[in-house]
Symmetry: C2
Subunit: 222 residues, 2 copies
């Protein structure tokens, strides 16, 4: 029934915790507040730029969101600190269960489908050795739009060549889960932080706390 | 130079503080956290539903956001409390300087341009006596989209019949300021909370802390 799998990257395959650690290192006592507001503004800017028709790539959006965050929190926008914090996005750790889970998903086609531009995501894939398990690394950048626009999810259909409902889309982000389900994918939610589902009128087909658990659920229902 | 003025409603003309007070009354010690998260989710849901092509009106979105907020904060989703808190949206206080500022803006055409559906916004206009100062009350609901989509801002152009740059759009919300400026309006930002500007590649033409101050700035530059 599931013939291919597409994975979100940030928070799903790659742990963004090291970003918080670096924020704390550069701006002591502000790391938690910074990383929370930064993530919120990063997403807001991706949605707002898409709605406004003013696309800029995810690296640009992420740096803009960091600058806003520093200003709102009354922290100095030091260029060296900004560069050092941004660089952590190229060195995120992969979650420990990912490689084993990839094997569990078997010979199905697999791809990353991310808001990140290739310049952001390819260094992570190379560094983590995930490339050998993937058939494609797809970026929203190709469309000039961000998730949750349908054109972005359509990339996976076009590149993997399977019908929407036979493609399992996996994300840890509730809003991405909703967008993918509205598009018509079968959706697995990695609810790593134990959050309630977003109230957007759709629900995930599977919910698990990590990727290995999700692979087992999909296997059991196949 | 400025021939017409369009005003955002929530936070711009109408003070949403009473919402926080009611949250605190119904869920003691949680009012501040509730109202902050609720506002964030209300906006997120308006943007995500527009991007997903799954419009629901702002009342619906607002109630969905409230339900999510209660769930995330671990508070009981009591139906009577939800109804009581939602009802405060129909009884928001107008900011004290609004009527005097309306007079200061003179005989220029004036309209509200809000995400709120008419069922939400008309009770506020009637209750506050603002109707006598307005030529139109325009809702995003007419487009089936929310701000910051250009189609929503276009409503003001169509109904007031002036060129974009001769229309002053006034909002207290930084994201709305960016959307309106990207659309081509002359924009006044009521920065009531002393926030930095959003990093979305555009800036307001005027920045003031309240509507009377903005009216004086526009008058001085006319």
């Amino acid at each position: 029934m599931i013939e291919a799998i597409a994975f979100d990257a940030y928070g799903t395959l790659y742990d963004v915790y090291s970003v918080e650690r670096k924020c704390e290192e550069e701006y002591p006592a502000s790391g938690a507040a910074m990383s929370r507001l930064w993530r919120q503004k990063q997403l807001e800017y991706s949605w707002l730029r898409t709605l406004m028709g003013r696309y800029a790539d995810f690296w640009h959006v992420t740096e803009d969101a960091l600058r806003y965050t520093l200003a709102e929190l009354g922290l100095e926008g030091d260029e060296e600190k900004i560069a050092a914090i941004m660089a952590t996005y190229l060195e995120l750790e992969m979650y420990p269960e990912v490689i084993e889970a990839m094997a569990r998903f078997g010979t199905r086609k697999k791809a990353i489908l991310t808001n990140g531009n290739l310049g952001m995501i390819e260094p992570l894939v190379a560094r983590s050795g995930l490339g050998a398990h993937l058939d494609a690394c797809l970026s929203a950048d190709e469309t000039g739009l961000f998730k949750v626009r349908p054109e972005v999810y359509q990339l996976a259909v076009d590149h993997l060549g399977v019908a929407r409902e036979r493609l399992l889309f996996v994300s840890s982000n509730g809003w991405d889960v909703a967008g993918a389900k509205a598009f018509g994918f079968t959706v697995g939610w990695l609810n790593r932080r134990g959050l309630p589902p977003e109230e957007l009128g759709v629900r995930a087909d599977y919910e698990a706390t990590n990727l290995l658990e999700l692979a087992e659920m999909v296997e059991a229902s196949a």
